[in-house]
Amino acid sequence: MSRLFTRTTDAELLREADQDPAAFGVFYRRHERAVLAFAGHLSGSAQLGADVMAETFAVAFEARDRFDPQRGAGRAWLFGIARNVLGASRRRGRVEADARQRLGMNQLILSQRQLSAFDRVIAADGEAAVREWLSSIPAPQRDAVRLRVVEEQSYASIAQQLQCSEAVVRQRVSRGLATLRDVVGGQR
């Protein structure tokens, strides 16, 4: 083989996708499991997680020109997109599909077997994916963001657990999410 993508960086793959669509397939494969685990863990459902993952990669493809490796790794970028997709989906009451529609992608059917396999991936890797997502922010913010965003606890409950005021919790969550958003950059 004349060239392998094995050592190709995410940024290179995303740039290469314009010339060779297979490059985006490699990018997808590289992060598929982690993004599924992340989205499935946050959404609490393999079906939702898969749907969010599909939209996440569609958004990532559309936003590939704006990926900035200086801001963070490709996976962190995808996690940020996935969280945005999930957040928007919750607000709308359905999983976002705008990017997939713009790209003319198929409506994919998941078999029960696939969903079972996804469930196993989420159970095995979900927690690790969330830890990886939060690894770029300081510990106090990490705890606050985890309890608020991942576990969806109230600010009052978090304040009690972390033994600080609600205002401090809000500040930590806000700052933590701002840092995480910075990794995503202007993907939307």
Binding site: L4, D20, P21, G25, G104
Partner: protein, 249 residues
Amino acid sequence: MSLWPELENDLVDAARRARPAGAPRTASRRRSARHSGVGVAGAMAGVARGALLVMPVAILIAVIAVVITAGHKHAVRRPAAAPSTLDLEGLQRVRLPTAAAQIAASEIHSQSKNLQGGPVDTRHGRVIPTPWGAGYVLSDHAHRIACVLINPWHGGWDLSGCVGPQTVSHAGGQWDLSWGVDTRHPNTGVDMVVLPAGGTLIAQRVGRSAHTITLHGGVAVTLFRHPTIFTTDINGRTRTTPVGTEFPR
């Protein structure tokens, strides 16, 4: 192997459609290479630059079920690229074994809302050869939907999924399905490729020579070891799918 090859393929297709004007026509380069006698290996080296990756020692076995479809949904505009019916008449139609029929009924019912076309006959199927004996292609009356039932390693019937014209007409007339990982055979993946009439499928295991998959009445089920690259060609439009490759995290 990709957990969700259909999504991967859909994304790559989207990338292909979005490719800016003037970008290299990788598909035609692949075709030229093969036709010039270089073979798929040469073609791969030239274009499928992401296709082959270093694999762990694990050997994966994949089943590729290829359903060659006939009919041309948009025959005038793009012959053979967007079929609307399946070429199943050449296959023997039989009553399904009870266990297979039960799986088919259950799985197809759960997918019915996503399928366009008439109801699928879950009691009869067209026989196709598989490495584990007979498999079946189920369809609706008009042959606009195909669902494939196999019994891998005689461990129980599985429905691969269903394809219909709404998906076949997309992406140049082909669509891939997969079960992903089989829990009984952790390194086993299953892919199904749907091609219109005239389509061909070539498999090449890394370091081995390429070979064309034999079709039986438009359907083929074959075992492969991984990593293997599959190349489909539909009227000169080629697509490469690596199966069983893994990528470093």
